[in-house]
């Protein structure tokens, strides 16, 4: 394909390598400073299936470094907004957006569907969750983390290599480390580190040698200097993760994604493109809502009616006041329809907004 001609002409990639990319799947956890650049290159490279999980909304202070988003994305979910931009960049691949938080309860389910996990999160809790879930699932993690002008990159759990716990056994105490929102970060830094992560992902998919496993790359943007620190596998720490597997699995409730559904305001929902509203109230419930892109499926029959829902659209469920619609969103996500929101305030908030639009 012409799209990938500059890859295919490389003897190290060729048509076989490009095919490997097109059949690979990568989950990017966090569509923030690291996730945005990594996603752009993975999508452009033609990685066949990309997952994006992020429950956060785009804020103005993100735009300095989270380059998939623009002013028009403010207030929208990052995973969904990223998917929209990336689908234009490369419509030939599959992109699954999960507008939810990765948690112990859903991590194994969600991550198990992907070959490689890219850690672009911004907190230790999720980093250790990803590391442990990846160990249990025997999947490699491309780790990236930043602090002001400095970044760290490594590949963990790759072909018997060390894990993040072999480097730092446990998360630091709460006050020990601050995040970007508190301390600031040079905008271009996550761009560099996120691209390094994407590079390691592509090397692994292509089966190239010298994957950044067993060493930590420390980059300093001020001096453009890199330091490599060797990391040895610590069997005791890895064994401990497997020993505590039952605790992890207890938190993990079968196939249910027990996660907080993402809510959307009436204002944002009415502005959204490619939207499908689902009125999940029982027939006859008031106020009556008439919208062109609205179908009626009562909550009780939603699960049987999944096939009627176009999963390519942004789904907004609503009930009377916005409580039952959260259940509907959880149900849809369990059924692999991830692009969905619960309408805040429900039909009671929607009715006056529609009336003022008609005026």
């Amino acid at each position: 394909m012409n799209r990938y001609s500059r890859h295919i002409v490389l003897s190290e990639i060729g048509p076989e390598g490009q095919k490997k990319l097109s059949t690979a799947s990568v989950m990017v956890v966090g569509a923030g400073g690291l996730g945005c650049p990594a996603l752009q290159y993975l999508v452009a490279a033609g990685v066949g299936t990309i997952g994006i999980i992020d429950h956060d909304l785009v804020e103005e202070s993100n735009l300095q470094r989270q380059i998939l988003f623009g002013t028009s994305s403010l207030g929208t979910n990052k995973a969904m907004s990223a998917k929209k931009r990336l689908a234009d960049l490369n419509p030939t691949i599959t992109i699954n957006a999960y507008p939810i938080q990765l948690q112990a309860q859903n991590a194994l389910d969600i991550l198990s569907g992907y070959d490689i996990i890219l850690d672009g999160t911004d907190n230790f809790e999720t980093r250790y969750l990803i590391n442990d879930a990846a160990l249990l699932l025997d999947k490699p993690v491309v780790f990236g983390a930043i602090y002001k002008f400095e970044g760290q990159v490594s590949v963990f759990n790759y072909k018997g290599g060390p894990s993040y716990r072999c480097l730092f056994a446990t998360p630091p105490a709460g006050s020990s480390v601050a995040n970007c929102s508190e301390v600031g970060v040079l905008g271009v830094l996550p761009g560099i580190i996120g691209c390094m992560q994407a590079n390691e992902v592509i090397k692994m998919i292509l089966g190239m040698a010298d994957v950044l496993s067993g060493k930590l790359l420390c980059y300093d943007a001020r001096s453009a200097s890199t330091n490599f620190i060797s990391i040895a596998r610590n069997e005791d720490r890895i064994k401990q993760v497997f020993d505590e597997r039952d605790i992890f699995l207890q938190n993990h409730s079968g196939s249910n994604y027990s996660c907080e559904p993402v809510e959307i305001s009436v204002e944002d929902a009415l502005k959204m493109e490619d939207v499908q509203f689902i009125d999940i109230r029982e027939p006859g419930e008031l106020p009556f809502i008439q919208l062109p892109e609205c179908i009626q499926i009562p909550l009780g029959s939603l699960e049987q009616s999944i096939s009627e829902i176009n999963s390519e659209k942004n789904i907004v469920t609503f009930c009377r006041s916005g409580i039952r619609s959260k259940k509907a969103v959880s149900l849809l996500i369990e059924n692999n329809i991830t692009n969905c929101y619960s309408l805040k305030g429900g039909a009671l908030a929607l009715e006056p907004a529609i009336k003022s639009l008609i005026k």
């Binding site: 966090g30 923030g32 400073g33 690291l34 996730g35 850690d119 672009g120 999160t121 911004d122 907190n123 230790f124 980093r127 990236g144 983390a145 930043i146 602090y147 002001k148 400095e150 970044g151 760290q152 480097l167 730092f168 998360p171 630091p172 105490a173 006050s175 020990s176 480390v177 601050a178 995040n179 970007c180 301390v183 970060v185 996550p190 930590l216 420390c218 300093d220 330091n227 490599f228 620190i229 060797s230 990391i231 040895a232």
Partner: protein, 77 residues
């Protein structure tokens, strides 16, 4: 023999330098940490790993020269 130390991330903010040379030459990592904690009491509150010549070491490791680095975990993304 002097000991050359590199500080990464927020550790460099505590020490107010990214690199320095210690006049004394501690014989173990433990001794080194005692010296540093005395000089920079705030370091005690921080989590970090010590590397000598790009290899992670433990507190009882002997120091026989080489470049020392103090690495904190980063969480940002």
């Amino acid at each position: 023999m002097s000991t050359n130390i590199k500080y990464f991330g927020l550790l460099a903010e505590i020490t107010s330098c990214r690199e320095e040379s210690l006049g004394n030459s501690p014989s173990t990592v433990n001794e080194l940490l005692e010296l540093l904690f005395e000089k920079y009491p705030d370091l005690k509150e921080k989590d970090f790993r010590v590397a000598i010549d790009q290899q992670l070491v433990t507190e009882d490791t002997q120091i026989t020269g080489g470049e020392i680095a103090l690495l904190p975990p980063f969480s940002g993304g």
